[in-house]
């Protein structure tokens, strides 16, 4: 094992949250090392193909999936520098005011230790940093006013526009979707060309993936990104009061120790608890930051009710972006659907491809043989989809824990146990019913619900924030309650999930946490 130079900060994971921390801290002149278990992708690796796009999705040690609704994480997770944000759809909705005090207001779920107003300035900062297109003014029917987005809304296409009549008929207001993409040239990055390959990685730089935003800034500021570096443990001093660095295996699969004054775990909602639990030592026998037993608990996910329709016209469904053209919070109230609890976030208008999970073929999973060929031909012209994403309440039984099987480095595999409750089924069904009404009112020739198993989309929780060690793992800045120089970043710190896509909030909370860390540096490392 080589003796490595001590870093001010070692960040585990080069995805959305790790990139923000790296950029902010490096700009203050600190030596920052980012360890990433996968490859060091370049924009030129992002081939426009559903096949090749799978290379940037999950790999490494698998998680064992258990429970009534196993958390299918693979499509959502990343592999390599850029993380999941290398292939995300860049939908940039935010959480709303009603997401932050669910326990106080409804006696359900948990409260955040902060409010919307604490995060809002960071939404605005992130929008300026990475470039967001949308109509902030239009969103004020649901949220307090903030800064205008730096770019106007994206272009819309018939595959999105055709739904508007249907939404209007059921009383749902749609506004331009806020997206982390360029509707115009921004900061030297080109405008989007609407070819619909966002989900396999955008090589032009029009979509705000970490390579062209925070991680690019971080590298310019001198951050060292070490790819193929798999972190297995965070180490502490003898009495467990401070972390001293991380143990990892390099590309040659040799064990290394990277000393650092601060450790930031930004390795994803499921992997962060796995590392913390595997870091158990004499001072922390249940794992780091886990005296209360809450590490790994309250894993949450979103689910979607997709309504498919075929219209009797060419909707040009190959055009646009994978994300959304329009969005609505009109069903975001926690009790919007009678007899069900939880928010719903609605989107319309996404570019479709032929294969992969979201492609034409999977719109009718019951078809095969000649019937599937016939459907593909019809779908190519008139198929389009809307989606309503739903909120799952935090449940302590939904968790990540260590299994007995081990990976190639001798680290126990993680096990994710997850089951939905009745409210999820109720919201899921209500959104399907409303989706069919919308499709009918929009004039669809055929419409059907994309049913099957209730999907699991966007992993959150596992290292939740709260007011203290009695109810949470970290504070609102991601700093662990037990060890002041150990931070956790990413969606794992959300105590409730809301129903909107999480990455904008991940960026915002990471920026808030990173600026606090930089601002309180002397106190934190003292």
């Amino acid at each position: 094992m080589a003796k490595l130079e001590k870093a001010a900060v070692v960040i585990v994971g080069a995805g959305a949250s790790g990139a923000v921390y790296a950029a902010v801290l490096a700009k203050t002149g600190k030596k920052v090392v980012v360890l990433e278990q996968g490859p060091d992708w370049k924009l030129s690796d992002l081939i426009s193909s559903d096949f090749w796009g799978r290379r940037i999705k999950t790999a490494g040690a698998p998680f064992i999936l258990e429970g009534k609704n196993p958390m299918g994480y693979a499509y959502q997770s990343g592999w390599g520098v850029g993380g999941a944000a290398l292939h995300y759809f860049a939908n940039f909705p935010r959480l709303l005011q009603n997401d932050f005090k669910v326990k106080s207001e409804h006696n359900r779920g948990l409260d955040w230790p902060i409010d919307y107003k604490d995060v809002a300035p960071y939404y605005d900062k992130v929008a300026r940093d990475v470039g967001v297109s949308g109509d902030a003014k239009a969103e004020e029917i649901w949220r307090p006013a903030g800064a205008a987005y730096p770019m106007p809304p994206m272009k819309t296409f018939r595959n999105g526009e055709i739904w508007l009549k249907g939404f209007e008929a059921v009383g749902i207001r749609m506004v331009p979707a806020a997206v982390g993409m360029n509707s115009t040239e921004y900061k030297g990055r080109p405008a989007c060309i609407y070819d619909g390959w966002c989900h396999v990685g955008c090589p032009t730089g029009a979509l705000s993936n970490p390579l062209v935003t925070y991680l690019g800034d971080a590298r310019k500021a001198g951050v060292e990104v070490r790819a193929w570096s798999t972190v297995t443990r965070v180490l502490t001093n003898g009495n467990g009061t401070r972390v001293t660095g991380v143990e990892y295996y390099d590309q040659k699969k040799e064990k290394q120790f990277q000393p650092a004054r601060v450790v930031v775990l930004a390795a994803w909602s499921a992997q962060n608890p796995r590392i913390l639990l595997n870091s158990a030592n004499g001072a922390h026998p249940k794992g780091l930051a886990n005296r209360n037993g809450l590490v790994g608990k309250y894993m949450m996910t979103h689910f979607a009710s997709g309504t498919w329709a075929i219209f009797d016209e060419n909707v040009e469904n190959h055009m646009g972006t994978t994300g959304a053209q329009y969005m609505s919070y009109d069903r975001y109230g926690k009790t919007s659907h009678k007899g069900a609890f939880g928010s719903s976030f609605i989107v319309a208008g996404s570019a479709l491809k032929t294969s992969d999970l979201g492609g034409f073929a999977n719109a009718r999973l019951d078809l095969f043989g000649a019937d599937l060929h016939a459907f593909m031909k019809r779908a190519a012209r008139g198929l389009t989809r809307i989606n309503a994403f739903g909120e799952e309440m935090p449940n302590i039984e939904n968790r990540v824990e260590l299994a007995t099987d081990k990976d190639e480095f001798g680290m126990p595999l993680g096990r994710i146990v997850h089951s939905y409750d009745q409210d999820v089924s109720a919201v899921w069904n209500a959104n399907f019913e409303e989706g069919l009404k919308i499709a009918k009112a929009a004039g669809a020739k055929e419409a059907w619900s994309g049913r099957g198993n209730i999907p699991t989309i966007h992993l959150m929780g596992g290292t939740i924030m709260g007011t203290g060690a009695a109810n949470s793992v970290v504070n609102s800045y991601g700093q662990t309650h037990e060890i002041p120089n150990l931070f956790v970043a990413g969606p794992g710190i959300f105590p409730t999930s809301g129903a909107s896509n999480p990455t904008y909030t991940i960026f915002a909370l990471s920026l808030r946490g990173a600026e606090r860390l930089a601002g309180k540096w002397k106190t934190i490392v003292a």
């Binding site: 081939i47 193909s49 490494g60 693979a74 032929t354 999970l357 019951d366 012209r381």
Partner: protein
């Protein structure tokens, strides 16, 4: 992989072909070309490849000629982190060969229990009926990965090789619009 220079592989990967072994040397071919040239399988046994081809052809006519078995075989032979299979994003635990072998075994056992022959030896009507029952988990005495999941994964493979290619898009009249185009319209 060692025989094919990394630079050439990266160039090929960036453009889209897969590395196959022909006459002891590694060359870049599409799966359709590999099948047409009779490239030997790396991992699959002949009967396993035959079952996969028959299943693929039932799921989506044209998948056999598009090289579904060569595609899967080549992908099973590379490290999981390099694999392009939909199994990767459907939470199949690597190594993926374990899943495909278990799936093929389950199908052939069920087919033999029903009619005394392997799946590939059924006629096309029987194969269609078998797949329809498998996707609904209605085959009695089934042992192996769940039938509906086998249907999902292998149907995705069939769609990949038939409609995931540039030719597939062209056949549907859809502009492919690549930023970085796969090689040989793959």
């Amino acid at each position: 992989m060692h025989e094919l220079k990394r630079r050439d592989f990266i160039r090929g990967a960036a453009l889209g072909a897969l590395a196959f072994t022909v006459g002891g040397a590694q060359v870049l071919l599409t799966a359709r070309e590999a099948r047409a040239q009779g490239v030997p399988f790396r991992l699959l046994k002949a009967n396993e490849a035959e079952t996969l081809e028959a299943l693929g052809e039932t799921l989506l006519p044209g998948a056999r000629a598009a090289g579904i078995s060569h595609f899967i075989d080549q992908q099973l032979s590379v490290p999981p982190e390099e694999a392009l299979l939909e199994a990767r994003i459907l939470n199949v635990k690597p190594p993926y060969a374990n899943f495909y072998r278990a799936a093929i075994g389950a199908m052939d056992r069920a087919s033999q229990a029903r009619g005394g022959v392997r799946f590939a030896q059924l006629n096309t009507i029987e194969q269609r009926e078998f797949v329809d029952l498998m996707r609904q988990n209605k085959l009695d005495g089934w042992q192996g990965p769940p039938g509906p999941f086998i249907y999902l994964v292998t149907r995705s493979d069939a769609v990949d090789v038939v409609y995931g290619t540039m030719e597939g898009y062209e056949s549907l009249g859809i502009p492919y619009m690549a930023h970085i185009a796969p090689e040989k319209r793959w």
